[in-house]
């Protein structure tokens, strides 16, 4: 085990962790407002393909990122239309969004398979900071998406926990009728949260095609949207804990291709089961503890709210 390989592992842990964090943070915001969106996999695929195609046509990575964010938010609003406005079942609508998003992304990206990226968002150079041993390569030579994830996390933590908007949003997820009685528009808050979730998932998708890979292929999301759904539970619906969980799960992704380098004789495939099994374990632990104290899950999560039937 060399120093370079350990630094490489930590660097990859941070970049995979940021990928997962962007998507998980978006899912967390939607769930905080009471909407479970199992369409993360599809929204990431839409962000990935839109970012790549826009980059091909404009050559501008920032315009491509904006396109990906808009695409993610747009398909998320379809889920919002069905679950918030029409009161349809959130599980069914979300899973259909995953299927629709993956199909639509494959359709839109058909001509872009195997083409080199039109533009990339390459690592940021932080000057002298980037040259610090260990910390430089791990923290200060990363893709702009990593810093975007950090900023998004801090903003989400502040807005959700320290502002009136955040309070109203959490109220919509805990008890919609109370939020309504307090004069908030539950539908507006929920639609906004779902759109925000889609925007962040779209950004995560663009991270794949504009920075990490950077290419478009069908199936590029490869189950990482499901890890994002898992992370929200693993992190108990709290931005800080979700960030720690993202780094932990990001490390399992980073280790997958590196186990042999470290001379560990363990199947990388079995290792990749870990995030899912850990999440099941956390869910069980939450339920056992919930006998004595309240569950961290938003109380109205998954429940439609019809003002007229209050």
């Amino acid at each position: 085990m060399t120093e370079a390989s350990v630094i490489g592992l930590l660097e990859a842990t941070v970049s995979f962790g940021a990928l997962l964090y962007l998507a998980a943070l978006g899912e967390m915001i939607a769930e905080k407002a009471g909407i479970l969106n199992l369409g993360v996999e599809g929204m990431m695929a839409m962000g990935a393909v839109t970012g790549f195609v826009v980059a091909l046509h404009t050559g501008n990575p920032w315009v491509a990122l904006a396109g990906a964010v808009a695409a993610g938010a747009a398909v998320a609003l379809l889920h919002g239309l069905f679950t918030v406005v029409m009161g349809a079942d959130q599980v069914v609508s979300g899973l259909s969004l995953t299927i629709l998003g993956i199909g639509l992304a494959a359709y839109l990206g058909k001509g872009s398979v195997g083409r080199p990226a039109g533009a990339e968002l390459s690592s940021v150079d932080w000057g002298p900071l980037s040259d610090i041993p260990w910390f430089g390569p791990v923290l200060f030579q990363q893709s702009p998406f990593v810093y975007l994830a950090v900023v998004a996390g801090v903003v989400a933590w502040f807005v959700l926990g320290r502002t009136r908007l955040g309070l109203a949003l959490r109220a919509a997820g805990e008890s919609a009728s109370t939020a309504d009685a307090a004069g908030h528009s539950v539908a507006g808050l929920r639609l906004g949260a779902v759109a925000m979730g889609g925007a962040l998932a779209g950004a995560a998708g663009a991270y794949l095609t504009l920075s990490l890979t950077p290419q478009w292929a069908e199936g590029i999301v490869a189950g990482r949207g499901w890890i994002a759904v898992a992370l929200v539970i693993f992190g108990a619906w709290r931005p800080g804990r979700v960030a720690l969980g993202s780094l932990l799960f990001g490390m399992t992704l980073a280790l997958k291709t590196r186990l042999q380098t470290f001379g560990v004789d363990f199947s990388p495939i079995l290792l990749s089961m870990l995030p899912y099994l850990l999440t099941v374990g956390v869910l069980v632990a939450i339920s056992i503890r919930a006998r004595n104290r309240p569950s961290p899950a938003p109380a109205a999560l998954g429940i439609a709210y019809r003002r007229e039937e209050r």
């Binding site: 299927i99 629709l100 099941v280």
Partner: protein, 358 residues
């Protein structure tokens, strides 16, 4: 200022669900026209080819029926749990677990005659699917752990278990280093029915019919619906919720496992990581469209089978098979919307009246 609101109709529109389904199909086909024209294809020719390839001849029917089998069984699995208000999102993984069970039997029973081997493989598939659902079932019944997320997570675990097996102990020594399991023995395959259709079509039909009868004609089915609509009522009626939740989720997993076993022995030569191919997720849409009723599951599965087979056939015309994936999701979205309008109507209310009503 006036704004639109959804007001509940006094009576649900008659024939609501078949109608909603028809509307969903129409919406999907219309959006499909736009997508096809957008990629420079003649929509009518593409739809004609899809119809011919899926329902236009007895051979086409046989292929469509084969495809409807895993969709119908997965849909039934979701519907069994759904009739009690539980979500089994893990059919995708349970299909894989079923295929693992069946393959395991095929490996130890290599020399067995077909009439012994195939039923044993299918039984092992049921056990495999049921075992994967057992953990979420116990956790839900005993400590109330949300089954949506646990079953969903186990999908990814089961997929990786298959990958691990075919990269390791089940790797065919003659596969030149490729991660492939050996082919199933000839006697480990389901016999043919007509053209390409295999006996699994009859088997799936019988299983779905039996569950349909059980749901509508037996005390078991009645208790299930009572427990699903109100836990308190069920307790008064002396129905043990814990035991019901446990058995229903495990049975649901077993049915999905059977889908994996039938798909393996009927339509595949070996276990692969692509065996389930989204059947578990499509099964959720099938069950939702069928309103969790077994009779509806068979009909919707047949239509989805036709859309999938039709979607494969248009690849030779240079059309992406993703069009059929998109159509399937749009049928559901269209049907949900139509279903909402069969129960609600749009009314314009003035802003003041809305405030007063609220």
């Amino acid at each position: 200022m006036s704004r639109p609101v959804l007001a509940r109709r006094d009576q649900v529109l008659r024939g609501g669900q078949p109608l909603a389904f028809g509307v969903g199909l129409l919406v999907a086909l219309v959006v499909g026209v736009v997508l096809l024209m957008g990629s420079g294809h003649d929509p009518m020719r593409v739809y004609e080819r899809m119809f011919d390839a899926s329902l236009g001849s007895s051979r086409a029917w046989s292929v469509t029926l084969n495809r409807a089998v895993p969709l119908g069984l997965a849909g039934l699995a979701v519907a069994v749990a759904g009739s009690m208000g539980l979500w089994n999102i893990g059919a995708e993984g349970q299909i894989m677990a079923g295929a693992i069970g069946a393959t395991w039997v095929a490996r130890i029973g290599e020399g067995w005659p077909g009439p012994v081997l195939v039923p044993a493989m299918l039984a092992a598939a049921v056990v495999g699917g049921g075992l994967l659902a057992l953990g979420p079932a116990v956790a839900r019944a005993r400590i109330g752990v949300n089954e949506i997320i646990t079953t969903l997570m186990l999908n990814e675990v089961a997929l990786r278990l298959v990958q691990w097996l075919i990269h390791g102990r089940w790797k065919d020594p003659d596969s030149h280093g490729f991660p492939l399991a050996p082919m199933l023995p000839e006697q480990g395959r389901l016999p043919n029915l007509f053209e390409r259709a295999h006996v699994g079509v009859v088997l799936a039909g019988v299983v779905i019919a039996l569950f349909g009868l059980a749901a509508s004609r037996t005390a078991w089915g009645y208790e299930l619906r009572v427990a699903g609509s109100s836990g308190a009522t069920a307790r008064y009626a002396g129905i043990s919720l814990q035991r019901k939740i446990l058995t229903v989720l495990v049975v649901s997993g077993g049915v999905a496992g059977l889908a994996g076993g039938v798909e393996l022995t009927g339509a595949s030569d070996r276990i692969t990581e692509g065996l389930s191919n989204g059947f578990g997720f499509a099964g959720i849409i099938v069950a939702a469209l069928a309103l969790m009723r077994p009779s509806g599951v068979a009909a919707v599965a047949l239509l989805f089978g036709a859309v999938q087979i039709g979607g494969q056939s248009i690849q030779t015309m240079g059309v992406s098979s993703s069009v059929s994936t998109i159509l399937q999701a749009l049928i559901l979205f269209g049907a949900i919307a139509a279903g909402v309008f069969s129960r609600y109507r749009v009314e314009m209310v003035s802003g003041d009246a809305a405030e007063a009503a609220a």
